[in-house]
């Protein structure tokens, strides 16, 4: 089976609980391991429609933009609960290690199952990260696994996984990881004269990109009759340098950041008979970010931001008639942000979300409709106006198998969503604008999925065309006086695109090897249609390439597995105007990895080696943030 296929749920549940209308893009355990990706962000690059904003290096911020709607429209969910960031609405996916992730799934629109939290209906797209669930063979009760990896930029990461079956129904898993890196790597910028001679050519070492990070996770999984529960504690602590932009005459900077992200969450889910299921979620999160600037040439900054979140949710689904079910979910979310910043607003937000959804499963047709109502209420300690907002956003999903069998399915959806202005947008001292409205996104999608099995070979193809429109886009805009900004609902983006993902897997019969291939291509035309009077009217929006794609090829032969992955991002522009001065070159990298499995005194081991950016391409994803050239790493994993 190709790893991109649906993985069967482990827990036997009511059929109501996992009824997805539209298939998704997924990378699971084995595929993730093959990619030798460091973080979830690196893995996300292999999904179609996704653009990664990568500031380079181990510690560089990595955020993801799906179908050009902007990072803030993406909900990131960790073991079933959305990771909130009321401060800036963005999640740095570079902070999430792939070490213990079993599955990363991307849903355009929403996860098209109606048994889910109200928040899950609310975003324009979502990525779900799921940590490893312990699985024990008969008679097994302990798993211990140690991993170590050493590579370029003095990267050292070690991790330990301990899984224990406490009772037949309850298991424990803990995972601890430590990572350190100097973040130093060589980069090169070069310019040529028009006659081909070198105008300048400079090589330097990336400075102030060092990082150390510790992550601890503790999970308790329990089985119920027709249900399950989970308790999770998470702690991430890191300190890093922020390398900053490389500009003329400036080669290093002094910004530092320390993050302490902790949360604990609980979920409880149970079905009552075949016709009713319920799920309850609770979470408390505390994020602390300490930012300081030690560069004596600029404003001395030493700020600490403390963010808290409390989240409660219930989701309930009932089968009204065979093939017709309905759900009702309610979420309550409370956010608070404190900071040691002068004239800070100290905002608090209460958000209520209520969703009603229904699903019809009639022969070869599946249809889902949902509507989410939200009510948000902000308060600040300053005299900002009290900000309340309510929204109603519907979505409709349909999937049909036009022919007998399930080898071909056609799907379509239309969805409205919005993103709330973040605390920074609304209240950040001079910049914020408390009068902002939410930014809205409307999506239309039409797609197909083709699946063929022939003996041991398997072939699948997914293709979608889509049209999105983002309006009331929240952007920073001049305030009128000398270099001051404010946030405004000013901006409209028209996005048309095509996503194609194909995969094929087959045995090479004469050798006993297995070959799998996966290719993905994205075309996007995302143009700014805000104002015909501007010079960038109908220009491609910044950092969105027209063409992007990736390719993964894996070969398994006995104990050896080889993987080659290729990523391509076409030309882009780093500002609104698609002029020669803002033009960014395409970039494409090839990564190669090999793993060998063996036993060391009966303990299964896995030795791996990787070369990333094999052809040593010197490129920027974000202008003036150079990416690492060719780099290598080796790793060892032992199961005890």
């Amino acid at each position: 089976m190709d790893s991109l296929q649906q993985v069967g749920e482990v827990v036997v549940m009511s059929k109501l609980t996992f009824r997805e209308v539209i298939p998704t893009q997924k990378l699971s355990d084995e595929a993730l391991q093959r990619l030798s990706a460091l973080s979830v962000a690196d893995a996300m690059r292999y999904f179609s429609g996704v653009q990664l904003k990568d500031y380079g290096g181990v510690g560089g911020v990595k955020t993801v933009d799906v179908r050009s709607m902007g990072t803030n429209h993406l909900a990131v969910s960790y073991d079933g609960i959305v990771l909130g960031n009321a401060q800036n609405g963005q999640t740095d996916l570079g902070q999430f290690s792939l070490d213990n992730i079993e599955e990363v799934t991307l849903y355009n629109g929403q996860k098209s199952a109606i048994f889910q939290a109200a928040s899950d209906f609310a975003s324009a797209s979502s990525v779900y990260m799921r940590t490893r669930m312990p699985r024990f063979a008969v008679g097994e009760h302990t798993h211990l696994k140690a991993r170590v990896k050493y590579g370029a930029s003095d990267l050292l990461r070690t991790s330990l996984l301990w899984e224990e079956r406490l009772t037949p129904d309850v298991s424990l898993s803990t995972n601890a990881e430590f990572m350190t890196a100097s973040g130093k790597y060589r980069f090169r910028y070069r310019r040529k004269n028009l006659d081909g001679t070198v105008a300048w050519d400079t090589t330097a070492t990336r400075q102030n990109g060092d990082i150390h990070a510790e992550r601890m996770e503790l999970n308790l999984h329990g089985m119920l009759e027709q249900g399950q529960w989970q308790l999770k504690g998470y702690l991430y602590n890191s300190a890093r340098g922020i390398p900053g932009a490389i500009v003329n005459n400036v080669w290093s900077r002094g910004e530092r950041q320390q993050d302490l992200n902790t949360f604990c969450q609980a979920s409880w889910q149970k079905s009552f008979g075949e016709r009713f299921s319920t799920r309850w979620l609770a979470k408390y999160a505390f994020y602390q970010t300490h930012y300081e600037n030690r560069d004596t040439t600029v404003l001395p900054v030493d700020n600490t931001y403390r963010q808290q979140e409390l989240y409660l949710s219930t989701a309930n689904v009932v089968e009204l008639l065979p093939g017709w079910s309905a759900s009702l979910s309610y979420d309550l979310r409370w956010n608070k942000l404190n900071a040691s910043v002068y004239n800070f607003a100290y905002p608090t937000r209460w958000a209520h979300l209520l969703s009603v959804a229904t699903a019809i499963d009639y022969r070869r047709l599946k249809v889902q409709a949902s509507i989410v109502g939200s009510y948000t209420n902000d308060r600040t300690r300053r005299n900002d106006q009290r900000n309340t907002d309510s929204q109603l956003t519907p979505a409709l999903f349909a999937n049909i198998y036009p022919f007998k069998g399930k080898w071909l399915s056609l799907r379509a959806y239309v969805k409205q969503s919005y993103r709330m202005p973040t605390f920074n947008d609304l209240y950040y001292n001079d910049l914020g604008n408390a009068a902002l409205r939410p930014e809205r996104a409307t999506q239309y999608d039409l797609g197909l999925l083709l699946n063929r099995h022939q003996g041991e070979a398997h072939f699948s193809l997914q293709a979608d065309i889509y049209y999105n429109k983002v309006s009331d886009k929240i952007i920073a805009y001049p305030k009128g006086q000398q270099f001051r900004w404010t946030m405004l609902n000013l901006g409209e983006v028209d996005i048309r695109g095509l996503d194609v993902t194909g995969s094929v897997a087959f045995p090479l019969t004469h050798t006993g090897a297995n070959l799998s291939l996966r290719a993905q291509y994205t075309y996007q035309r995302a143009i700014d249609i805000t104002n015909p009077a501007t010079p960038y009217y109908r220009h491609q929006i910044p950092y969105i390439p027209h063409h992007a794609g990736s390719l993964i090829a894996g070969l398994d032969w006995r104990r050896l597995s080889l993987n080659y992955s290729f990523i391509y991002t076409g030309e882009r522009w780093n500002a609104q105007e698609n002029s020669q001065y803002n033009h960014m070159q395409p970039w494409y990298t090839s990564d190669l990895s090999a793993a060998y499995r063996f036993r060391l005194q009966k303990h299964p081991c896995r030795l791996s080696a990787e070369v990333n950016n094999l052809f040593d391409q010197q490129y920027d994803v974000i202008a003036n943030y150079p990416m690492p050239g060719r780099n290598m790493a080796i790793g060892l994993e032992i199961a005890l």
Binding site: L194, V247, L551
Partner: protein, 702 residues
């Protein structure tokens, strides 16, 4: 003054611009071969080919070329062009320099990379100020922590000075003063400072602490005035700075601070020696709005209830730009009366709109107004041009955030003198100061340097010092026959046996010599003034049969008319006006005396007609502005050539003063009168002069 002066130096550089124009479309190259793949499977290859070739692969990053647009309007004036410095958003490394060629009307966007193709990462991050001093263009690049110094005529970099978080520029007597946010640290507050930079060596010579986050500066009466903003302080809740720091430039220490208003920003001096300061005020605080203040003698003398964000002085007119939110107002204050005489300098028209007005500059000669529009800060801005009546003429696209501009005077040549190390002695081989400047009438008089009705012989000498002193390579005109300039060095120049002793630089080039006779003098009475006996250096043409010794000419003032003259040879004539230069040709600061009388040696006319073009070949040797500066020997003088008024050779051990005067009395139809120009002078053997000085215990000149 001949016409080629008008065009030739600049056609040299404009020809470069035209070349540049052809390169605007970026060349596209064929894709490189597909990289070698470790798998040779056909499907893989096919997929890869598809994935790479649908859009193209990387090309070499090439030096970006300017984009040239035609504004359709050439403006004849003493200015060759307008440099516009565009800030570029922070971290974007998009500070760009644009150039409006006033002689052709062409607007060249982003000229720095192609003029300086070897500069790593181009001009840098966030341009914050630009000014021209002498022959050099100074560019403050804030987030690149440097001040880039270029040849003004070409924008070619000569080097840079590293100054952290630098903001604005001021100049005085061979030094640049750069305000910087970086200075003394006190807890979480950092006082700002002013750096002193030698304009020749670009070396930092000193640093003085001022208030918080200093912005613009100006020099009045040997004192440097600095507007302190306190922007960082306010962000930390400690309130804005409200003061102007006064720095004594002799001791380079902060003398006192004047309390003005919170968040000061612009600070400029007017022709009456007063200061004009703007405050940006406190946002959201109605009691402290943005305002304009006039400071006279350390006191706030007048306050204008206008939120002025930028202004430009033109004579007694202060043209201002005031902004509130997204609305703006332009107007004029008569600084002689302190009255707002217009609140609509620029007339509204449906032909244009301004999104984020960010800067304003006025051509002081023609009155054209240029307004800079920063639009949304992250895309290209606009430069708008208005005629002197405020009627909109044109607009053109600029780099990101145009906010700073400087006019490039004509006649600033390529600096032949490149910065060299100041000798350990602390002496300079260049002119220290100009003592007298008495040009004869001419088409460039009152323009090079600029003069107005309020100028005096002293202020004009000072302006000449600023132009040609210290190796700055500016240009001054001596006007028609007899006009002269007298200058001295910071030491006597020794007469070294068998060697040329000093050089005088002009702007002569092939067939364009406008010779000036060079005179020398010793300060025998020791009063430091050039009032002693003068000796003429005998050049090659002194022996010519047509050379007239003891020649005398008298010019008579006739306002804005051809200037008539009579001489002691019984001839009369005039210096005719032309259409290129419309200012008064008689030195304005001397018109009170009605006539100008000059005595000296008259060299023969050197002009000849070749077809329809005048050629002015040079004499062999011994004159200033006679040979091109590249002909070092041809520009060099030997004190041994000195002779007295009767033609007798004199032997001088050293000289203290040098004088140059236009030595030909000729008018060549369309190119006008022949008038010498001086760009500077240089002691050719500083070490020997200093040795001489030490030996005879000469004090250092002031």
């Amino acid at each position: 003054m001949k016409k080629p002066f008008h065009s030739t130096r600049f056609t040299k550089s404009t020809s470069l611009y035209h070349k540049v124009d052809e390169f605007v479309p970026q060349s596209r190259r064929l894709c490189k071969p597909i990289p070698y793949l470790p798998f040779s499977h056909s499907i893989l290859t096919v997929l890869l080919v598809i994935s790479v070739c649908f859009s193209g692969c990387r090309q070499d990053d090439e030096v970006v070329m300017p984009t040239v647009t035609d504004t359709g309007l050439a403006v004849g004036s003493q200015y060759a062009g307008l440099y516009v410095l565009c800030e570029g958003n922070m971290g974007a490394n998009k500070a760009t320099l644009d150039f409006l060629d006033l002689t052709t009307g062409a607007y060249q966007k982003n000229i720095f990379p192609s003029r300086n193709p070897n500069q790593v990462k181009e001009l840098g991050d966030v341009g914050n100020d630009c000014k021209i001093y002498g022959s050099r263009l100074w560019l403050v690049v804030n987030c690149s922590n440097k001040v880039e110094v270029c040849e003004a005529a070409t924008a070619r970099s000569l080097g840079h000075a590293d100054i952290p978080n630098c903001r604005s520029l001021a100049f005085h007597e061979g030094y640049a003063y750069v305000s910087s946010y970086v200075g003394k640290v006190g807890g979480t507050s950092v006082l700002g400072s002013v750096y002193k930079v030698d304009t020749l060596t670009l070396r930092i010579e000193g640093q003085v602490s001022v208030g918080y986050q200093p912005e613009e500066m100006a020099v009045v009466g040997g004192k440097l005035y600095v507007a302190n903003s306190g922007g960082y302080q306010a962000m930390q809740g400690k309130g804005y700075d409200r003061t102007v720091s006064i720095i004594d430039l002799k001791t380079f220490t902060e003398e006192e601070q004047i309390d003005v208003a919170p968040n000061l920003f612009r600070l400029r001096t007017d022709r009456r020696g007063r200061l004009w300061v703007t405050s940006r005020g406190i946002e959201g605080d109605a009691e402290h709005p943005s305002r304009l203040f006039m400071i006279d003698g350390k006191q706030v003398a007048q306050q204008f209830d206008l939120p002025v964000s930028d202004f430009c002085l033109r004579g007694d007119s202060l043209c201002y730009l005031a902004t509130t939110g997204h609305s703006y107002e332009t107007g004029v204050i008569d600084i002689s009366t302190g009255n707002i005489v217009s609140r609509q300098l620029l007339k509204p028209s449906p032909d244009y709109s301004v999104e984020t007005p960010y800067g304003l500059i006025v051509n002081p000669e023609t009155g054209h107004v240029y307004l800079m529009d920063a639009t949304n800060y992250v895309s290209s801005g606009w430069l708008l041009c208005f005629d002197p009546n405020g009627e909109f003429l044109w607009r053109t696209s600029t780099g990101d955030i145009p906010g700073h501009a400087v006019l490039l005077p004509k006649g600033i040549g390529h600096a032949e003198t490149i910065p060299d190390e100041t000798p350990a002695s602390g002496h300079s081989k260049y002119i220290l100061a100009v003592d007298e400047y008495v040009p004869a009438p001419g088409q460039f008089v009152n323009l090079m340097p600029v003069a107005d009705d309020n100028d005096t012989p002293q202020t004009m000498a000072q302006k000449c010092t600023e132009a040609i002193g210290g190796g700055r390579g500016g240009l001054i005109t001596l006007g028609a026959y007899g006009g002269y300039v007298t200058f001295h060095f910071d030491h006597p120049i020794a007469n070294v046996e068998g060697e040329r002793d000093f050089a005088v630089w002009g702007n002569a080039f092939e067939n364009n010599a406008e010779p000036a006779i060079v005179m020398v003098s010793q300060d025998t009475n020791g009063n430091g003034r050039p009032d002693d006996a003068w000796y003429e250096l005998r050049g090659s043409a002194h022996d010519h049969e047509q050379t007239v010794s003891q020649y005398q000419i008298t010019y008579t003032y006739d306002a804005l008319k051809d200037v008539p003259w009579t001489d002691n040879q019984g001839r009369t004539g005039s210096i005719p006006r032309n259409t290129y230069h419309k200012q008064e040709y008689f030195p304005l600061w001397l018109k009170g005396q009605g006539t100008l009388v000059f005595n000296g040696t008259l060299l023969p006319r050197n002009a000849r007609l070749n077809g329809t073009t005048y050629e002015l070949p040079s004499f062999d040797y011994g004159y200033a502005d006679n040979r091109p500066n590249t002909d070092r020997q041809g520009c060099s003088m030997d004190i041994g050539w000195a002779e007295d008024g009767q033609g007798r050779a004199v032997s001088l051990t050293h000289i203290d003063f040098v004088r140059c005067y236009t030595a030909v009395n000729q008018v060549c139809d369309n190119i006008g009168e022949t008038s010498s120009e001086i760009m500077g002078a240089e002691d050719l053997h500083l070490d020997l002069s200093l040795l001489f000085m030490e030996k005879y215990h000469f004090p250092k000149n002031q």
